[in-house]
Symmetry: C2
Subunit: 646 residues, 2 copies
C-alpha cells in the first residue's frame, strides 16, 4: 500500500497508507440535496434533541454525580450511558463551529468525573459501585473510552487540541498502562476502542496507542471473556479475528471490531489481517445482509443469523450496525480502492442510516425492520421507549445508542464522498457538493457536483479550478446499474456507455469543464437468492440506490400491506413525488378470515380473484412511518401461486 500524505487534518479516518487518500471536511462540503437537508436537520434539531434527552434521563447528570461523590446512589441509565455524551461531542466537533458553546459546556460536565489516573466511567470504581474492570463482558468501560477518544480526536482535528482531547489522551494512557503488556489480559465485551486507539495514534503519532489497539485485536478470540448465554461469538471471542470466515454474533460489535482490525492492518502493514477482514466482509455481504444493507436478524442478542436466514419481519438491522457497516466499508475502500465497498456504503446510507431519523430529526428507529405487520402504538413523547416495538420512531430509548450514532455519522458524512490519489480525484457518493483539494505536485483542483440524486440519476461535475497537467476524474458507477446502461458525457460532449465499477475521464481539465454521469434510475424488480427462504415467492423494488416499500397509509379503505400482491411480469413505473407504482392488486376477498384451515391441496380450487387491480403505490423505504402508525413491507408477494404457473 502507498503512503498517504493527507492535505487535510479534518479527517474522521486518516490512514497513513492505502490505495486512496481521504479528503477532509475542509475539502468537501455538502451544499444541499438529500444529504444536505438531513445534515441541516441533524445540526439544527437532532443534536439539540439528544442533548436535551441526555439531561432529561439523567445521563449527563451521571458525570456531575460522579464528581460530587453521590454517583453510587444517583446513577441513571445503563452501563454504557457515558458513551452517548461522547458520541454527541464527536458529532458536534465534526459538524462545525456552531456547537462551540455546547462542546465547551459538555466538556465541563465530563472533565471533573475523570479520576487522577485517567480512569473515567460513571458506572464503576467509586465507593458503593462495582470495582473497575470487574465485568469486562458487560461493563462497556473500554467501549466508552473508545467513543471518548473518537470525540477527542474529532475535536483536535476540527478545532485544535482542547480540553476534551486532553481528557481522551489521559484515558488512553490509562488504558495502555492497565491493559498493556503485563497488565490485565482482557478485552472489552463490546469492541470499539480498537479503532479509536488507532485513530488516536494517527492523530498524535504515538506508536503505543497503535500497539495497544493491535494487542486488543490479537487478544480477542481466545476466550478471555466468559462463556455467556449467547455464547462467546456474541462478542467475537470465539475465534481469532484473522481466522474467522464471516462476521457473527452481535452485529455492531462484529463490525466495530472489523473496522478496528482494518485500521490495525493498514497501519502495521499486516496483509494477512486485512485479507481476513475482506474475506469476512465478502461472506457477510453475500449471505448475511438484507437488501437495505441492514445487518443482524436476531432480536434476542442483536446478532447476525445463520447464512441466508434473513426474515424481513424479524430484521433487526440495527441503525448502529448500519453506521458500523459504513465505517468498515469506508476503511476497506481507502485501503483497496475497490468500488464495491462504496456500493455497500451507499446502500446502507440511503436505506439504513437515512431511515432511522424521522423527517424532523427528533425521533429514531433503533431497529429497521423490512416488514411491519401491526400498526402498533404511538411511542410516548416524554418517556424512553423499548427497542423495535412500534411502527413509529421514538424520541429516545432505554438503550439509546442509535440517535447519537446517526448524529455523528451525518456530521462527518462529507468525508465519505470523495478521495484523491496520485492520478486524480474519485467520487464515491453523489450529493450536491463542493470539493477543493491539492493533488500531487501542488496542483490545486476545485469541483462542484450538482445532482438530483437519488431521485434522479444525473450527476454533473463542473471543474472550477484545475492545473494544466492532466489528471483523472473517477466516478463510481453503482453496482445497481448492472443490466441497465449508464452513460458518461465528457467535457467535449462525447457520450459513452459505462459499466458498473469506475468510469474515468483523464485530461488537462479547464475551468468550466463538465463531466456528466447519467445513471438509469428507473424502478426495477429485485429477486432474492432462493436460499433466502423467508422471501421466496416475493419481489422487491429498487429505484437507483433506494429500496422501496408498500405502506398501508397508501392503500385504499384502511387495508393493510399483507393484502398487496404484485405482478412482476409487468414493469413498475415512476409515480409522482419519488413514488413508484407497481403493477398489482389487493387480494383481500380471496383470503377470508373465516377459513377453517390455512392449508389446502393444490389440486383443489384456486384462490378467488382479487380486487383493486389499479397498481400499488410504493414509497422509498427510508421515508416510511412519517405519516402515522402503519404497516409496511419491502418484499411483496407475487400474484403467481405456487404450482399454478408452469
Amino acid at each position: 500500500m502507498r503512503e498517504n500524505t493527507a492535505r487535510s487534518s479534518v479527517l474522521p479516518v486518516a490512514p497513513s497508507r492505502g490505495r486512496l487518500r481521504p479528503l477532509g471536511l475542509d475539502e468537501v462540503r455538502i451544499t444541499g440535496g438529500f444529504w444536505g437537508r438531513r445534515r441541516h436537520t441533524n445540526a439544527t434539531a437532532t443534536i439539540g434533541h439528544c442533548l436535551d434527552w441526555m439531561e432529561r434521563v439523567g445521563w449527563t447528570g451521571n458525570f456531575r454525580a460522579a464528581a460530587e461523590g453521590r454517583i453510587h446512589r444517583d446513577r441513571r441509565g445503563r452501563e454504557f450511558a457515558d458513551s452517548e455524551m461522547y458520541k454527541l461531542l464527536e458529532a458536534m466537533a465534526w459538524d462545525g463551529a456552531a456547537h462551540d458553546a455546547e462542546i465547551a459546556a459538555s466538556t465541563d460536565v465530563v472533565a471533573p468525573a475523570q479520576e487522577p489516573d485517567g480512569y473515567l466511567n460513571t458506572a464503576f470504581g467509586r465507593p458503593g459501585q462495582q470495582p473497575r474492570y470487574s465485568d469486562l463482558e458487560w461493563g462497556h468501560e473500554l467501549y466508552c473510552y473508545g467513543h471518548l477518544i473518537q470525540a477527542g480526536v474529532a475535536q483536535t482535528r476540527a478545532h485544535g487540541e482542547g480540553e476534551l482531547a486532553k481528557i481522551a489522551r489521559r484515558a488512553a494512557d490509562h488504558v495502555c498502562a492497565t491493559f498493556g503488556p503485563g497488565g490485565i489480559e482482557g478485552v472489552c465485551g463490546h469492541p470499539e476502542i480498537e479503532t479509536a486507539l488507532v485513530e488516536l495514534a494517527r492523530a498524535t503519532g504515538e506508536q503505543r496507542y497503535l500497539d495497544q489497539a493491535a494487542l486488543f485485536v490479537e487478544r480477542r478470540g481466545h476466550g478471555t471473556l466468559a462463556d455467556i448465554e449467547f455464547g462467546r461469538a456474541y462478542f467475537q471471542d470465539d475465534m481469532p479475528v484473522r481466522e474467522a470466515g464471516v462476521l457473527r454474533g452481535h452485529a455492531v460489535r462484529a463490525l466495530y471490531l472489523a473496522a478496528g482490525a482494518v485500521d490495525v492492518a493498514v497501519e502495521t502493514g499486516d496483509e494477512e489481517l486485512l485479507a481476513a477482514v475482506v474475506r469476512q466482509w465478502e461472506a457477510t455481504v453475500a449471505r448475511r445482509t438484507y437488501l437495505t444493507g441492514g445487518m443482524g436478524s436476531h432480536h434476542r442478542d442483536e446478532s447476525f443469523g445463520d447464512d441466508f436466514v434473513l426474515p424481513p419481519d424479524r430484521a433487526y438491522s440495527e441503525t448502529c450496525a448500519g453506521v458500523a457497516s459504513v465505517m468498515l466499508s469506508w476503511r476497506l475502500l481507502l485501503a483497496t480502492g475497490d468500488p464495491r465497498y462504496a456500493d455497500l456504503a451507499e446502500r446502507t446510507l440511503f436505506n439504513v442510516v437515512a431511515t432511522s431519523p424521522s423527517e424532523d430529526g427528533r425521533a429514531f428507529f433503533y431497529a429497521n425492520t423490512l416488514h411491519r405487520r401491526h400498526r402498533g402504538t404511538v411511542p410516548p413523547a416524554d418517556a424512553v421507549s423499548p427497542r423495535a416495538e412500534s411502527s413509529l420512531r421514538a424520541p429516545w430509548f432505554a438503550v439509546s445508542c442509535c440517535p447519537t450514532n446517526v448524529a455523528r455519522t451525518l456530521a462527518q458524512l462529507p468525508a465519505y464522498l470523495a478521495t484523491a490519489d496520485d492520478h486524480g480525484i474519485q467520487l464515491h457518493q453523489y450529493a450536491d457538493a463542493e470539493i477543493a483539494t491539492t493533488l500531487a505536485g501542488d496542483r490545486d483542483v476545485a469541483l462542484r457536483v450538482r445532482t438530483d440524486y437519488p431521485s434522479g440519476g444525473s450527476v454533473t461535475v463542473r471543474v472550477g479550478r484545475s492545473s494544466d497537467h492532466p489528471w483523472t476524474l473517477s466516478l463510481r458507477v453503482p453496482a445497481w446499474t448492472r443490466g441497465a446502461t449508464a452513460w458518461l458525457v465528457d467535457p467535449d460532449g462525447v457520450r459513452r456507455a459505462v459499466a458498473p465499477g469506475t468510469a474515468e475521464v483523464t485530461r488537462a481539465f479547464r475551468s468550466g469543464d463538465e463531466v456528466r454521469l447519467e445513471l438509469p434510475v428507473a424502478p426495477r424488480w429485485i429477486g432474492a437468492d432462493p436460499r433466502v427462504d423467508a422471501v421466496r415467492g416475493t419481489v422487491a423494488v429498487q429505484r437507483g440506490p433506494l429500496v422501496y416499500c408498500a405502506e398501508s397509509v397508501d392503500l385504499p379503505d384502511g387495508r393493510e400491506v399483507d393484502a398487496v400482491r404484485v405482478d412482476p411480469s409487468a414493469q413498475p413505473e415512476d409515480g409522482p413525488d419519488d413514488t413508484v407504482v407497481a403493477p398489482g392488486d389487493l387480494a383481500v376477498p380471496g383470503r377470508p378470515n373465516g377459513a377453517a384451515w390455512p392449508y389446502r391441496p393444490l389440486d383443489e380450487a384456486p384462490a378467488p380473484a382479487a380486487e383493486h387491480g389499479s397498481g400499488i403505490v410504493l414509497v422509498p423505504y427510508h421515508s416510511w412511518a412519517n405519516r402515522g402508525p402503519s404497516t409496511m413491507r419491502v418484499w411483496l408477494p407475487t400474484t403467481t401461486p405456487p404450482g399454478r404457473s408452469s
Copy 2:
C-alpha cells in the same frame, strides 16, 4: 347437552354430559399396527427410561430429601420437577397392570413428602426454601397438584382407590381450603389444575372440586399475576377466558387452560364458556397452527405467534402443546360430536405426538421444527440436553416435560379411538383395535377394526357381537380426503362415495358383518394460505394424515435439503416403505456460495439449470431423525422462480 351414563369407569375424561359418550380402556383395546407398536415401546421402554432418568437427575430423590429434612440443600431440577413423577404415575396407571410394582414404589417415595395439611411440593415451603405460594407466576405448585390429581384419578379408575389417590385427594382438599372463597385470590402461572380438579369432581362426585376449578377459570384474566417480561398473555392472565378470541401466550398453558374451561363448561352447563373456547379453537386452528398440527412459533417464551406467523424453521411446536391440543380437541369432540376435532387430533397425534419419541422410545424431541438447517451435534447419552438444539432426539432435558407427557398420552390412547351415543358407535381414529361396549337398552356390541392405516387407507370393521336392534356405525371421513373420493362398503358389499365428515351405516348388524372404509391416501401437494409469509413459494406433501418431509440422509452426495426443489405441475408418487417420490431436483449448481450479493434484478439472467432431476425421496415427518444427524424440511421450494412464470 345430554347426560352421559358411562358404562366404563376406566376413562381419562369422563364428562357427565355431552354429545358423545367416551369408551373406557376396558372397552377399547389397540391390538397392533402403528399405534400398537408405539404403545408397546412406551410400555416396555419409555416408562422405564423415564423412571431411570428421574433417579439419575435426582428428581425422584427430591421427594426423599423433602421427607428427610434436607431438601433445602439437596433439591435438584426446576420448580416443576415433581410433576414428571406424577405424569409417569398417570402413564403407568393407564398403561395396565404391568406397572403395579413401579406404581407402588413411586407412591412410597412421594407419600412421605406430603405435609400434614396436604401441601406437597419439594421446591417450596420448608425451612430454607421460599414460602409456599410466594411465586405463583413461576412456582408451578398448583400445576404440580394438577398432575398429581390426574395421576390419582387414573389410579382410582384403572385400579381402584389406593394410596396415590388418597395423596391426591388430600392435596386437592388443601387447594380448595387455600384458594377457595376467602383464601388466596390467585391462580397458577401454569394452568393445569383446572382440568384435573374437574376430573376429580367427576371421579368422586364432590362438587367442591368442580367449584374450585370454575373459580380458577373465572379468576384468570384479571391480572392477579405479575406483569412479567413476556406480558400477562404468557399465562393467559391478560383477559378473561370467556372474552378471548384466540389462544395466545405460552402454548401449553393456553391449551391446558382451554381444556379445563371446556371441562368446567360441560359440567356446569355453561354454554357461553363452551362457545368461547370453540371460537378460540377455530381461530387458532385457522391462523396459528402448523401443517403438522403443531402449535407455538416462538422459542423465547414457548408461545403462539401472531396470526399466520408460522415460520417452519422457527417452529417450536412443543410436544407438550401437541399433547395439550389433543386433550382440548378430545373434550370438544365429546361435547359437540363435531368430527373436525377428531381431524385435528389425528393430525396432531401422527405428526407431533408420534414425532417426539425415537423409534426405540428412549429419546425425544421437545420442539418439533418443520425445517432443520444444520445437522448439529449428537445429544449426550448421559447428560440432560437443552431444548431445540440438535437435529436428533435427546434422552432427557433440563426441562423434561415432554417425555412423560408422551408416555401418559400413549398409555391412554385407546380411549381416543371411539365413542358411543344413543344411536350407536362412532369411530374417530383408525387403528387395529377391539371394541366392546353396551349400547342403550343393554345391547352388547363388539367390533374388531383391522387397518394398515396410515400406510394404507383401508379400514375394515367386523362386527363380532351385536343385538337384533338396528344401530348406527359412524366412521369419520377425514377432512384431508377433501377433493378426493372416499368409499364406504356396507355389509351387503354396496359401495358408495362418502364426503369428509361422517359416514354412517345403520342396520341390525349380525356377527360377521363387515363395513369397509376406503380412504384415498395417494400423496398430494399442499399449499398454504398466502398470508403465511414464511412458506410462500413452497409446497408440502401429505399422504393420508401424514405430513412428509425431505431429509438429507436420502439425498445423494451428502447434499443438504436446502438444495431440494420440487415441481408441483407433476404428481408425487408412492415409493417403497411408506416413502413418497416427489418430482424435483437438486439445485446446487445454480446457487454458488461465492455469489457476491444475494439479490438480483429480475430482468437479468435467470438462475442456471439444476441437476439430479430424478425425483426427491420424502419420508413421513414423524420418522425423521432416526438415521443420524440430518437436515430436514417439510415445505419444499418449487422450481418456478417468482415473476418467471406467467
